[in-house]
Amino acid sequence: MTDRMLTMSEALREAMAIAMEERPEVFILGEDIGIYGGAFGVTGDLYHRFGSERVRDTPISELGIVGAAVGAALSGMRPIVEIQFSDFTAQAMDQIVNQAAKIHFMVGGGLHVPLVLRAAAGSGTGAAAQHSQSLEGWFANVPGLKVVIPSSPYEAKGLLLASIDDPNPVIFMEHKLLYKVAGREEVPEGAYRIPLGVSRVLREGKDLTVVATGIMVSRAMAAADLLEKEGVLLTIIDPRTISPLDMNPVYASLEKTGRLMVVQEAPEHGGFLNEVIAKVVTGPSLGSLIAPVARLAGMNIPIPYAPQLEKAAVPQVEDIVKKAREIVADWR
């Protein structure tokens, strides 16, 4: 381990610092991002480095601050809004969906909204039903928004820099369990961008193609490690951005494996990864399938509080192992 094995918080902070150094119009606004350093410590010392104007603490007014960011973005700034928990995007949905997403299109192209909305998503911290949702599917079904889900510190930094560059509104969903853990790879020191709309193949294996997002990517990787010992070999694909969605590596992989499994934390019913399934079976890839598609997702329940309940509510490594093993064994 070198000192570049950053946590995701550190990687995100580096990306924001670089962007703020590169461009005077980049600034951050959100609740408790200043002296407090962010509810999850992501902004950390940025307040001390860039001052209270550019690392701007706000009152508890999600709708107001997202709206203010929209107006600032229309007027030459590049705001990054931090929403403490993605559940509170519910407060700001009008500005996100009816304003930010649509302005460029509605007004005929004369205005645009270069805005990044970062939010802490997902369960696992015992914060219960109002602080643990995985709401990316809402935003993916809204034309005009880009939706990014980083799965590691390395990805987080490159994707955030690309998101800040993007002239369109980007919803950036950070899984809170990833904040404090280092990834499997080093995070380069300077600026680098990971283009939005390019899936990543993390690992190739002949038996099963797994498409996973967010925290499920590392769980799928852990499952793949375990299954490898049994001789079951997984391909793991992380779309990184679900809008736009790059399906090419999935199609290519399915030609080899013939088996598809999607893994998401969001509730199964109507969840986003259905889009991956739909794209596969509405296209020529349907012919490559030699097994029913396997779907592993959150239970159709609000996230419960007690640890044993919370764990049961969303896919864990052992659930992935079990389902993957089954699908490979049952369909030879």
Binding site: L63, G67, A69, A73, Q99, P167
Partner: protein
């Protein structure tokens, strides 16, 4: 008229200003009459929200603004748009769904924006523009632009959470913004008397530490004066002001309105307070304009609107082919910001 001919200053300060104020109000009135006509003849799609009767508000407010000052507008936004200097042909072409419309037919009446004149857009969402305006003001402050942002919104909008959160941010950050509430007595069918438990809507500002003033929204000079002092405060760094303009809409809320919630007498009463007739009366009294000049102004407005309608009609219908590519701005296209 183009943006370059915008006039700033007291409508009663000079003949030139008076003429400009009257012309602007007349242009708004004529434009909206034309819209109603196009709609009635089935040439316009969707719905329409006419501001006939409220022309003094848009005009008085915008006469206190510089070209680079920004506004956010509402569903009832034609007047704001015209008063800020928009091109009539592009407006009407938009309503007709033409490629040469402001939004290339993608937005229609409720989404016209005009980057050149600092108009950040009408808005179909009641209250939706208020946080956006304070964001524009925040950008102005951070970038030291010296510009002011004005948010137009209705009485009804004041009860949306968006007003509240935006007003407080503007107050605590002392943003250069003016909150112009066009109180026309109703939010659709809902009377301000039933929707508020305060006497004037300017009082709403008390809860945020925002000073407020209530003016006769049908008196273009009074609207101008109140706005100008609010703009001065804003530009001086003293923060937001609420300017409540008491006015009235003559027409129904939108095309589907049967006016069941108000009386014919009330409407007639307000028609007597026609902001255009009132202003004509004042400029005559003050010897700023005579009958002939007044008639000439109306004729000019009429001919501008007729011309605009004719030009707009010549446009080609908006083409679906470009829709998918219009959703996102591409990184390499030239950056235009208001």
């Amino acid at each position: 008229m183009t943006a370059a001919t915008l006039k700033i200053g007291d409508p009663l300060a000079s003949h030139e200003n008076a003429r400009y104020a009257l012309l602007t109000m007349s242009r708004i009135r004529r434009l909206e009459e034309a819209v109603e006509d196009l709609f009635g003849r089935g040439m316009m799609h969707g719905t329409m929200h006419l501001s006939i009767g409220q022309e003094a508000t848009a005009t008085g407010v915008c006469m206190a603004l510089r070209l680079e000052d920004q506004i956010t507008s509402t569903h009832r936004g034609h007047g704001h748009c015209v008063a800020k200097g928009a091109d009539l042909t592009s407006m009407i072409a938009e309503l007709l769904g033409k490629e040469n419309g402001y939004c290339h037919g993608r937005g229609g009446s409720m989404h016209i924006a005009d980057v050149a004149t600092g108009n950040l857009g009408a808005n179909g969402i009641v209250g939706g523009g208020i946080p956006i305006a304070i964001g524009a003001a925040l950008a102005s402050k951070m970038m030291k632009k010296g510009t002011v942002a004005v948010s137009f919104f209705g009485d009804g909008a004041m009860n949306e959470g968006a007003f509240h959160e935006a007003a407080n941010l503007a107050a605590i950050w002392k943003l250069p913004v003016v909150l112009v509430c066009e109180n026309n007595g109703y939010g659709m069918s809902s009377s301000t008397h039933l929707a508020f438990a305060i006497k004037t809507l300017a009082e709403r500002g008390l809860g945020y530490g925002i000073p407020g003033i209530t003016v006769d929204g049908n008196d273009v000079a009074a609207v101008y004066a109140a706005t100008q002092s609010a703009v001065d405060r804003a530009r001086a760094g003293d923060g937001p002001t609420i300017v409540e303009c008491v006015t009235y809409r003559w027409k129904g809320h939108s095309r589907s309105d049967k006016n069941l919630y108000r009386t014919k007498e009330e409407i007639d009463e307000w028609k007597k307070k026609d902001p255009i007739l009132f202003f004509e009366h004042v400029v005559r009294e003050k010897n700023l304009m005579n009958d002939e000049e007044i008639a000439a102004v109306h004729a000019e407005a009429t001919s501008q609107v007729i011309h605009a309608v004719n030009e707009a009609m010549k446009g080609v219908p908006a083409d679906p082919a470009g829709l998918l590519a219009a959703v996102f701005k591409t990184a390499d296209s030239v950056e235009v910001s208001a």
